[in-house]
């Protein structure tokens, strides 16, 4: 039996975390959560994770951006896949309607917009974990 894959969720919306954590756990992933970027980055450094689910808009602004950049800069973690899950359109679509959400701030592995279909989330997570595993084995 293989060890379950470890996923870290960094998101400031506890209601959203309460929604997606059980979905991932039911799919046999080990999930840890952090409600702010500081706590999240400390957790990320403290133990190895196979995937990071990251929110963009936290705290006073786009603090998820800072987390993604820090991780990508560090050669120790920069291969770990980062999946952005953002509700930014939901919150701010009235500013620029009809535009795609594609933050060009860091090298990311994927982006999903809230609200997410559980099936879509699980497919994306499984694809990224497979790719990560293949990269590790090269």
């Amino acid at each position: 039996m293989t060890n379950p894959k470890k996923i870290l969720i960094i998101d400031d919306d506890p209601d959203y975390i309460a929604g997606i954590k059980p979905i991932l756990e039911r799919a046999d992933y080990t999930v840890e959560v952090a409600h702010n970027p500081k706590e999240g980055f400390n957790l990320f450094q403290a133990r190895p994770f196979d995937l990071l689910l990251l929110d963009v808009n936290m705290g006073r602004g786009a603090e998820g951006v800072a987390v993604a950049r820090k991780i990508r800069k560090n050669p120790k973690y920069n291969a770990i896949p980062i999946l952005i899950i953002t509700g930014i359109r939901e919150q701010l679509a009235f500013l620029f309607p009809h535009e795609s959400v594609q933050p060009q701030f860091a090298d990311l592995d994927g982006l999903l917009e809230k609200p997410i279909e559980p099936k879509v989330l699980l497919e994306k997570v499984s694809t990224l974990l497979k790719l990560f595993e293949e990269k590790k084995n090269i």
Binding site: D12, H35, N57, A62, L92, L95, E99, P103
Partner: protein, 187 residues
């Protein structure tokens, strides 16, 4: 599954996500409430609001008009002996309540904020006649007449333009906003 994360932590995260929660440093000295020029219009004083946040009284906090009445004068922030940025706390509560769609009904603040932001993004300037008209339904007839009189006086004295003006190179401003708000590049 229910959310068990305390409201006081949520508020702390919104304020200084990369630092410790400043709300827990509050001494309840009341300097903020004593300095606030808008306290008489508030359901709860700023000191009481911080106490309520610490007690995780989420519904009561969000249902109050306190943070919408804040004039952002920053007297509370400057005078707080515990170094809490109370004016920023009021902004955080505004953002939170609009995000979660939980705020006191009948207030001008939420409609005003949205209209104001849209106007800045589209023209680069605030233009009072459109701004006032966007939340006109919230006014009583008496208020509308009062606003019309004030507006006419401002126009005749040359303090307000009759027609809206756009800044030059508005696209550049919009690109700056796109970088700040990370919605992304044009598709």
């Amino acid at each position: 599954m229910t959310n068990e994360y305390p409201f006081s932590n949520e508020v702390g995260d919104m304020l200084y996500a990369t630092h410790d929660n400043p709300i827990t440093n509050c001494l309840q000295c009341g300097t903020c409430s004593g300095s606030c020029p808008a306290v008489e219009f508030m359901d709860h004083s700023p000191r009481k609001m911080i106490g309520m946040i610490r007690a995780n009284m989420k519904e009561e906090v969000l249902a109050s008009n306190t943070y919408w009445s804040c004039a952002s004068c920053y007297q509370c922030t400057v005078r707080c002996p515990a170094g809490i940025d109370i004016a920023e706390l009021m902004y955080a509560l505004k953002r939170y309540s609009m995000w979660k769609d939980q705020y006191k009904s009948g207030l001008i603040g939420p409609a005003f904020s949205e209209s104001f932001i849209k106007m800045i993004v589209n023209s680069g300037r605030s233009y009072e006649p459109i701004l006032a008209a966007s939340y006109l339904p919230k006014f009583s007839t008496f208020d509308i007449v009062q606003e019309a009189i004030t507006a006419s006086e401002l126009v005749f004295s040359g303090k307000m333009n009759l027609f809206p003006k756009k800044i030059k190179r508005i696209k550049n401003l919009q690109n700056v906003i796109r970088r700040i708000v990370p919605i992304g590049e044009l598709s």
